[in-house]
């Protein structure tokens, strides 16, 4: 059984356009994903494709005007607001992107102690500091005294001592030099090896391919493909969705191709057919009539009629 199972999740927001006209926008429409203990799953997609909203939906920290469709199951049971409040920070832990998520008025040792579960907090924290090569003096430092690298170690240490089953990392590596990014990914690998399920949210496909076990590719609020990371290789022959292939082949190391189709020009209207039907070179008649569902192929899950 999967630790976390997301089925046909949609997230919409109601907002007012002008004085009285209420409109609904739906940045996430069809998101399917399952996380296994002991694995790193990367959710990869364009900025604005709705990746971070999934993290917020799992933790139950979406703004009040959001409404959810579909379902999120955690350990086989539906995640309700009451369960989320009990689980977040204990069973489910967020590793945020930047140092601004640390409490600016709390010494870093105390912040890590606060997250510790299942033992003497101080001992756990000391062990985590040794593990992440943080000196004892760092315990007494406030967040503003930490370098960027130290702050990242503190946040990783918090996840390490928490004993959480599931760890969500939101864009942990952008703007980092290669060695730092590799080290960060190594930490997540260690956490997965200890039996945690890690959800890595990133726009950096290269980092995801290097570090994750499975990759879910997202575009326009939908997971279009979900498969083992090892299938991202060569010229992407083993990828099934045309958008995944376009994404892979547009990397500077893989040809730097600009795709023929403009994958962002998707129809926002709700209607029949695949939202990419107007821009996909493989589009056939059925693509305009029927919305593809997520189906299992030999190499993973894909949401496409043509593949």
């Amino acid at each position: 059984m999967s630790l976390l199972q997301v089925e046909n999740l949609s997230i919409s927001f109601a907002r007012y356009a002008g004085w009285l006209r209420r409109e609904i926008i739906m940045p996430v429409r069809q998101l399917d994903l399952a996380l296994q203990a002991g694995e790193i799953t990367a959710l990869v997609g364009a900025s604005g494709s709705g990746k971070s909203l999934l993290a917020h939906a799992i933790l139950g920290i979406l703004p009040a005007n959001a409404s959810l469709g579909g379902s999120i199951l955690y350990k086989g049971e539906k995640l309700t607001a009451a369960r989320q409040a009990k689980l977040r920070g204990k069973d489910i832990m967020l590793v945020p992107q930047s140092v601004t998520y640390l409490d600016p008025l709390m010494r870093s040792g105390a912040q890590v102690c606060l997250a510790a579960r299942g033992g003497d907090p101080r001992k756990l924290q000391r062990a985590a500091f040794r593990r992440y090569r943080l000196d004892n003096e760092v315990e007494q430092m406030y967040p503003h005294q930490l370098s960027g690298g130290m702050a990242r170690r503190i946040m990783a240490a918090s996840a390490f001592v928490s004993g959480a089953c599931m760890i969500i990392a939101d864009e942990p590596t952008p703007g980092m030099q290669a060695e730092d990014a590799a080290e960060t990914m190594k930490w997540f690998r260690e956490l997965a090896d200890q039996g945690h399920a890690v959800l890595l949210i990133t726009h950096d496909l290269e980092a995801a391919v290097a570090g994750a076990d499975r990759i879910a590719v997202m575009n326009a609020g939908m997971t279009v493909e979900w498969l083992p990371a090892s299938h991202f290789s060569d010229k992407g022959e083993r990828l099934q969705h045309p958008y995944s292939r376009a994404l892979w082949n547009s990397l500077p190391a893989n040809g730097f191709y600009v795709p023929q189709s403009d994958w962002r020009a998707v129809s926002s209207r709700e209607g029949p057919g695949c939202p990419f039907a107007s821009c996909c070179e493989l589009a056939a008649a059925i693509c305009r009539e029927e919305q593809p569902g997520m189906r299992e192929g030999e190499r993973g899950w894909v949401r496409c009629h043509a593949s």
Binding site: G45, A46, S47, G48, S49, G148, P174, G175, M176, Q177, A178, D180, H203, L205, E206, A246, L247, W248, S250, L251, P252, A253, F256, Y257, V258, P259, D262, W263, R264
Partner: protein, 199 residues
């Protein structure tokens, strides 16, 4: 008319350590030069000095052998930053933003993939990639001779990154702009640069 930094030294605190010490750099028109180095080694600072945002403590920045004139009118060395949402006025429409320095023409905007409909929106209503295209258009006035791209596409997905760089390189070649590309992404630098300067 090369862009030359000679003997550039800079430090942030009055008697702190030197971040840059007698640094030399030359970029010629039509050339794409990469600037590579670990975080915190002064890549952005060097870019900001060349673009005239910072004054070096020692050394000079010259364009075609002459000192670049002080901040008045349109600056021939333009810079595009990593976070476009921090580089625009949040209350201006994109039309006002793009036209702050020059009357951006249709062909340039089309080449960068800027959609006419974006121009009446404010930054919060555009994605990062859309905003960054607008920031590039803003920096490409006819008087621009050099463009400094500081992690210009680090926040964008691979498809958008490839689209923006292809458009950028074409425009740079046509106008024989000099580009200085600051990036952590070694593959990107190898792909687009004619030479890479270590920091």
């Amino acid at each position: 008319m090369p862009l030359e930094g000679k003997g550039l030294s800079y430090r942030y605190a009055q008697d702190g350590p030197w971040l840059l010490r007698r640094r030399e750099i030359t970029v010629r028109r039509g050339e794409v030069v990469g600037l590579q180095g670990p975080s915190g080694c002064g890549k952005t600072t060097l870019g900001r000095i060349l673009a005239g945002y910072l004054q070096p403590h020692e050394g000079t920045v010259t364009l075609a052998g002459k000192a670049v004139r002080a901040a008045r009118g349109y600056h021939p060395i333009q810079m595009v930053f990593q976070h476009p949402e921090q580089a625009v006025n949040p209350k201006w429409t994109m039309r006002s933003t793009i036209q702050e320095g020059w009357q951006a023409d249709q062909p340039t905007m089309h080449r960068l993939g800027i959609n006419e409909a974006w121009l009446d929106r404010v930054p919060a209503e555009l994605s990062g990639g859309e905003l960054q295209r607008c920031c590039i258009a803003r920096a490409l006035g006819p008087e621009t001779a050099y463009l400094i791209a500081d992690e210009m596409t680090a926040m964008l997905d691979a498809v958008t990154q490839a689209q923006i760089w292809h458009a950028m390189l074409e425009l740079a070649q046509e106008r024989s702009l000099g580009l200085l590309v600051i990036s952590h992404d070694e593959n990107l630098l190898k792909r687009i640069c004619s030479r890479i300067e270590p920091m």
